[in-house]
Amino acid sequence: MFESRLLLALIVVVGVPLATIAYVWLVERLVGLLPDRTRDGIRPWLWVAPGILLLTGYLVYPTLNTLYLSFLDANSTEFVGLANYRHIFTDDSFITSLRNNALWLVFLTAFTVGFGLLFAILFDKVPYEAAAKALIFLPMAISFVAAGVIWKLMYDFQPPGRPQTGTLNAITTSLGGDPVAWLLNQPWNNFFLIIVGVWVWTGFALVILSAGLKGIPAEIIEAARVDGATEWQTLTRVTIPMMGSTIAVVATTMIIFALKAFDIVYVMTSGNFGTDVIANRMYEEMFNINHFGRAGAIAVILLLAIVPIMFFNIRRFREQEAMR
């Protein structure tokens, strides 16, 4: 069993690169047989073909298919029109998950961008910048599942009078307060889940924002100072406006992550206690309720929420390309 797997892994690790190289080599040989004019027309398509095929199979076709499934019943056998959508929008648990995703969207984005910007500016002033950045970025290397376990230790709750094992409750009780059931009290528990997301993603925001900060020409900052601007004025009127596009990149990325949030909620509360999110709702419909129509409809709604961001992204990308 183990040996056969090892062999399989070896075949893939060595074999896949070889196979892809062989593919291009073969393509080149075949293309070489063609007359000059057709050759240059066909070659690029063969180079992009494997990628386009994978993307079509795993992203384009399934998305269209999901759209279609969302108009069918639980087993995808009968056409039910908009019934799935009607059901979802009258379902309290879905409305809750919509509200929660909105919370995720606003607060995850605001906090990751805010902290990222604050850290980028503060760390820029000290010589041990790299070390500080690494420690903030560290949670990015941790899976959401492990992060969930980590934060369980932070949020752990024991009834009053017992020794508290959760870090936050130990702090609360040592300050004379009562222990708090962080993950049970609605609607605040949503914020405590979002904090886990902030803890994980701030490092990502920090790294990009910091790169954007370094990209501002030093002369511009100096010119502002020479003109008598205070540290604060330089920051708010020169530095931050000049980082506009970088901030937009980070914010859009965070909005997308917020809409797709799944792992933290799944691991920490399974969506109970009013913490459900769209992605988890869909997982529930799919695997616990086995209603593919509704699951599909939820996925479509998620996609619709992301479409405006996609357009914004493409437009920004085109502008960037135009400047190349």
Binding site: L122, L138, G215, A218, F262, I278, I306, N313
Partner: protein, 298 residues
């Protein structure tokens, strides 16, 4: 206010100048930074300490009490996680899943990105923009149709199925990043190679790829961490069968099933973090450069 002379100087020079005075004035800044970084690290430190404590103490006392005598440390939780809870098996599974799922998309994306940046064909830009647009398609939208297809083809619960899925999901980002990097390669160099009779095959393997090692390395790290840390894709396409489950799935199953024995999760979580942390600390320079190539243009 600083003197005019100091202001006129580049930032790096003024930073090193009047040492002690400046240092004293900056103590609050250093204090704030150290405090913030410490706060950020507390959760991880808590996990690390807990995972080395005896199970009964983890449930009855806080992890910080480990720092005062009597020091009570043990490896029991690691022993239990690796043997009784199947983390050893899942660690191997995670490796089996992650390595090919990193190699495949990078090779395929590199070909496509090369064609997008150095070959001319009609519809090139529209096609490329569409690929970038796919970056934001939520995975959730694709799950049902792919799962049905997998059930028909018998790919559910197989490594092949999950390799291909991760490869496809990672492709938009990979193509985007590599295309950006290939686009910055000097045009003259490639053109003179073509004049000397180099084929696209040669130009790609002997010029473009070697010059793009930083971008490819950073992409590899990203894709590896992403696959290693993934829960949703593995949960759905592998179906949670223990013999193929990666660590994320095993841990998620533990969180759902362990009522009393959750302490072992601390060790399990730390085992699952070790490899990405190692990768992160040894290669962190590439992360910054990789992200830079992807999303920030100077």
């Amino acid at each position: 206010m600083k003197s005019t002379q100091a202001m006129a100087m580049p930032r790096s020079e003024s930073r090193t100048r009047p040492r002690t005075n400046r240092f004293l004035r900056r103590i609050p800044l250093h204090a704030i930074i150290v405090f913030l970084v410490l706060v950020w690290s507390v959760p991880t430190i808590g996990l690390l300490v807990s995972s080395f404590r005896p199970a009964n103490l983890v449930t009855t006392t806080g992890w910080w009490t480990a720092f005062v005598p009597p020091w009570n440390f043990s490896l029991d939780l690691y022993r239990e996680a690796l043997t009784a809870r199947g983390m050893g098996q899942s660690f191997v599974n995670s490796l089996f899943i992650s390595i090919p799922a990193t190699v495949i998309p990078i090779m395929i994306a590199a070909f496509a990105a090369y064609a997008f940046s150095w070959m001319r064909f009609p519809g090139r830009n529209i096609l490329f923009v569409s690929v970038v647009g796919l970056l934001v398609v939520p995975l959730q939208t694709t799950l049902i149709p792919v799962l049905r297809l997998y059930n028909e083809l018998g790919l559910t619960g197989t490594f092949t199925g999950i390799w291909l899925a991760h490869a496809a999901y990672g492709l938009p980002f990979a193509v985007y990043l590599l295309r950006n990097f290939f686009g910055t390669l000097p045009r003259d160099m490639l053109e003179s190679a073509f004049l000397d009779g180099a084929s696209p095959f040669t130009a790609f393997f002997y010029l473009a790829l070697p010059l793009s090692v930083p971008a490819i390395a950073s992409l590899a790290i990203f894709q590896f961490m992403w696959v290693w840390n993934d829960l949703l894709v593995a949960l759905i396409y592998l179906g949670g069968a223990p013999n193929v489950a990666p660590m994320t799935v095993t841990i998620a199953n533990m969180t759902n099933s362990l009522g009393g024995g959750w302490q072992v999760l601390t060790a399990a979580a730390f085992i699952s973090m070790m490899l990405p942390l190692l990768v992160f600390f040894t290669l962190q320079r590439y992360f910054v450069r990789g992200i830079l190539a992807g999303s920030v243009k100077g």
